[in-house]
């Protein structure tokens, strides 16, 4: 007898993977704690996190939305203006450094050295460059919007029971003056690139780990009982500025993020990890859930992942109903708002 003789079939590669259809894998996600419709859920993160928020909302969970859209705004404009996507108008938060920075800013502990970017008569928020298509019409208008946004983030921290965060990237552009992490490279969505003002940074495991622990710590100052659900976006990098090929750069990025999630989840009973990355991007899935560009996740892939999530939380029947009722509007990834895609325009 040895430890491997009595393992569950899911612990062996052959019985857990090779002998099964990729659609039949079982036990791949075993929730640490219950999430039900009374759980007040906050969500933020990279583009893929938008699917998670939409699914929670669409299935009637208590998804917090602290910056609601004007009711007169069209559905298309709601997304364009960053409404109805996350729990506030954060825009995409690709790195944990950005997330921590946002919370510290909301608490009055951080002020970026560059609070605004000007382009003629228009003003943009360097930390949410895509949130206001057409820009703000004055620095004062932008400042008022930021102040309101940060007040809603504080409220979110006070109210949330569960914070869902989807890790996206390790690569980021930083403001050299004070180390502010920017969501996009200046000049892509807004701003003007200047290598004397901005520099590239690829976060290491230790940096992401430190930021993640800081994030948890700040959240617990607002709600000591807050729980966390971490995921890693399966969406590869649109482009890398690391000087290396985009494939190893993607693998580095995702590996670091996955490893951080693994360590935090192992050490903290209030942190869970949902393997959306593995369910979409690992090789047993044969890339079947990607679009032909091998980057965008197909609606079928998103549905597959989210059904596994909700099945595990005992809401599988509702998931079925939901996919029958309105699969396309909720799941179609063309609705996603991804600033990172601005980089594709520069591809040769």
């Amino acid at each position: 007898m040895h430890p491997y003789t009595s393992l569950d079939p899911s612990a062996y590669w052959r019985t857990g993977i090779s002998d099964l259809s990729p659609l039949e894998l079982s036990g791949i996600y075993q929730p640490k704690f219950n999430i039900d419709k009374s759980t007040k859920i906050a969500a933020a993160g990279s583009c893929f996190a938008q699917h998670i928020g939409k699914q929670f909302k669409g299935r009637g969970y208590a998804f917090l939305d602290k910056e609601q859209a004007p009711p007169m705004l069209s559905a298309g404009d709601r997304s364009r203006f960053g409404f109805d996507i996350y729990s506030a108008r954060f825009g995409n938060i690709y790195s944990m450094r950005q997330m921590v920075q946002l919370l510290r800013r909301a608490r009055g502990e951080f002020t970026p050295a560059e609070p605004a970017w000007r382009d003629g008569d228009l003003w943009f928020d360097p930390l949410r460059p895509a949130i206001q298509p057409g820009g703000f019409t004055s620095a004062a208008e932008l400042a008022a919007d930021i102040e309101y946004h940060l007040s809603r983030v504080r409220l979110l921290l006070d109210e949330a029971d569960l914070f869902v965060f989807t890790f996206g990237l390790t690569e980021a552009w930083m403001l050299s003056a004070d180390g502010t992490a920017l969501p996009t490279c200046p000049g892509t969505v807004a701003g003007v690139f200047d290598d004397s003002k901005y520099h590239f940074h690829n976060f290491t495991f230790s940096e992401v780990m430190a930021d993640t622990l800081a994030f948890i710590s700040i959240c617990r100052e607002h709600n000591p009982n807050m729980t966390f659900l971490f995921t890693v976006s399966p969406v590869p990098l649109m482009a890398t500025a690391s000087g290396r090929h985009v494939l190893p750069s993607t693998v580095y990025s995702k590996s670091v993020l996955r490893a951080v999630c693994g360590e935090v989840e192992q050490n903290d009973p209030a942190v869970d990890y949902f393997p959306s990355y593995e369910l979409i991007a690992s090789h047993p899935m044969r890339a079947m859930f990607f679009q032909p560009n091998l980057r965008s996740v197909s609606p079928v892939g998103v549905r597959h992942v989210m059904n596994i999530f909700f099945d595990a939380h005992g809401a599988g029947d509702e998931a079925e109903d939901q996919s029958r009722a309105a699969p396309a509007p909720i799941l179609d990834d063309i609705d996603l708002v991804c600033e990172e895609e601005a980089l594709e325009a520069d591809a040769q």
């Binding site: 004007p70 009711p71 007169m72 404009d77 203006f81 057409g134 208008e141 309101y148």
Partner: protein, 238 residues
Amino acid sequence: MKRSWLIGSSHISAINRAQKQGDFGKATPAITLLGASRHSKAPFHRLGEDGIAFTNENYQDRAAGFLKHLKSGKVENVFVLLGDVNSIILKGSAYWKRHEPFAVWQAGKVPLPKTTLKAIMERDTTPVARFLIDLKEAGVRPVWVTYPAIKDHHPMFVQGTRREVIKYLDDTFIECMQEALAPHAIDTVGRPQASLTEGGFLKKAYSQDVSAKGKRDWVHGNSLYGRLMLDEIMKVAA
């Protein structure tokens, strides 16, 4: 002899009543009530090889006479009274108590950036502007006719909505429409100055108080307003 035609939503009823009450001869425009303004909040027409056609069923039947004359080449000016800010203000009345456009924003309210406000407005102005532009393409002179100003005695002001906010919303709607029309040199018939208070709202004397169905009317002008508007239209048509 070519003539002018006024088409539009229920706001043209005031002009129609004024026209029937007066003796204006053949100089006045023919008037066609297309239907409710809500049908113009999405594309409602197309311009094909056979000219303009209405794709919205609610406008199709009533527009038949106008279209027949249009196709015969007997129409010179087409005055279009479609598009108004009323649904944005009135259906969002709860929203405008808590949110204010940044230009008139007061602390304690949620500031709404101008570009977000314009996106709200353009949802309603774009289909109407497109219609006017296509009318020009079809060979007539289109003119956009403004709707009556917001009523000075509207109860929302008593209920806590600030006048500055409503005036700004109204101005922004007109600004959006004119921005869309200006590159095509399409004129606007503005509101008769005599109908407006100092603050730019519709005087009670020019307000239709009760609708045709006997309900309180908070959006339309009366026949006195219609008379003033008709004068403005005839000035532009001349």
